[in-house]
């Protein structure tokens, strides 16, 4: 399982890369993409949308099911990764390059884990 050291992780299997204290890119972890299976559709919010920690901000669809993606932080969507809309498979192929959104003005966040903690968390599942 690929768990990059420089990222933070949420219990709902999103990764975060903090550009600075209040700006982060968010994506789905390698574990999440394996569990979801081959993705065929991604639904992203719009630039300027507010996201709330613990609430759904996007959804991803596999052949099996549609799943919500939960935001680990509260803030404003500064950018979305538009290429993903046409190539959802890149989440499966390169989960840590396939960021979904870039969130700025982060005011609140869930309890996040570092790579070692996330690895331990996965082992318990």
């Amino acid at each position: 399982m690929n768990i990059p050291k420089e990222l933070k992780y949420a219990k709902s299997h999103e990764w975060l890369f903090f550009e600075d204290e209040t700006t982060a890119r968010i994506g789905l972890t390698d574990y999440a993409q394996k569990e979801l299976g081959d993705l065929v559709f991604v639904n992203l919010p719009e630039e300027g949308d507010e996201v709330t920690a613990g609430e759904s901000f996007a959804d991803v669809e596999s052949v099996k099911a549609v799943s919500d993606v939960y935001s680990p932080v509260s803030g404003t969507v500064a950018a979305i990764h538009e290429e993903l809309l046409d190539s959802p498979e890149s989440i499966n192929e390169q989960p840590y390059d396939a960021w979904l959104v870039r969130v700025e003005n982060i005011t609140d966040q869930e309890d996040l884990m570092d790579a070692a903690e996330y690895e331990a968390y996965l082992e318990e599942l």
């Binding site: 081959d38 052949v63 549609v66």
Partner: protein
Amino acid sequence: MKLIFERSVKGRGCSVLPECEVPVWDFGEYGRKKELRLPEVSENDISRHYTELAKRTHGVNDGFYPLGSCTMKYNPKINERTAANDGFTGVHPLQPEHTVQGCLEVLKTAEQVFCEITGMDRMTFQPAAGAHGEFTGLLLIKAYHDSRNDGKRTKIIVPDSAHGTNPASAVMAGYTVVNIPSDPDGCVDLQKLREAVGEDTAGLMLTNPNTVGLFDKNILEITRIVHDAGGLVYYDGANLNAIMGVTRPGDMGFDVIHLNLHKTFSTPHGGGGPGSGPVGCKDFLARFLPSVQVEGDGPYTFVRQPDSIGMVKAFYGNFLVVVKALTYALMLGKDGLWEASRNAVLNANYLMEKLADKYKMPYRRTCMHEFVMSLEQEHEQIDVSAMDIAKALLDYGIHPPTMYFPLIVAEALMVEPTETESKENLDEIIRAFEEIYEQARTNPEAVKTAPHVTPVGRLDEVQAARKPHLKYSYDE
């Protein structure tokens, strides 16, 4: 096989279409500039084309179809005979009432019969299918709260085991969905429900028996909790086939329901049906019903409800489907419907018990009309998934069960045999399931690459979803 466009030869034709019986009108500059590119084929070509397509399909007329929660029961042919009656097919929806009294009597009788079965007071036949019925029912709930100036009720509670259409319909109706987890038995967690209800609760959507095929024994307490909080309770009729003549949603405390005539009442399901999702309600909601209701006792008249939410479909819904469903209900009668439900439950239990030797049943106890098995262990141990088992069943001429649903069970297969399968059929089906299970252990590769004898093998569903090829491209 060839597409019908590929069978087309310039100038070929046939005489299956009748002569045009209305004057031809030239639209001048607004008319089509190009000829319509319809396939040009002979009657023989058409006949062979559709026969070939029909051979490649699988329906209840071909074999077992245990698609859980869809109630794919046999559709008696007498339904088609009554629905083909000239008096039903030769009418126009704008005809004066006194010339269509028979049709109005059908709607009135159907309302009485289905209200009796469900314990409701009034029913509309406008909605075209189950999810459309859910949407209509939620609009009734909304109209009720609005009529009391109770605008703070913005949330609909849905258990995590619910059919996916429930939260979707609630969102379409403008509500926020609150998901509550199931208890370890797959039933509503009463404590979580108590915590979820409040002044903002518009209602709860529920199906009973629930999605794992168990009757929620706390149902009276569940409906009471929601009512005490000021909300209404909606019954998803998907699972009514288990309880006809035994118990009624109206008696369980439900205020609004929908039925799937194309499930429980033996009208065609799938392939464009068309469906029919009548919505029943208690008296206090009747004034909000969509469109018109049939009133009177001969002569019958259409009457618009005073505070109607408006039309949800053109005219009177899929009327001929109502004719078929009413035929079914009247042919079986009170005792027959009761027996149908009892046999549906008996068949499901027989199948579950026989399969439980090999397949893991996460909720192993007396089930209702369907049950859920889990291939989680097999998936982990021998890398054979629910999908692989489902595909292998195709080689036995069996339609796969519902897969990967409900979401609360990993590697789920949801099986609903219905009452219209004989014990002999069920025994054959059990043998098929057992053989596949054995093969998964001894030769997993064969199962993982199934099906092998169908017109096409394992399809690349991911590629089909990512890069769908939906239209024919002409050679220009």
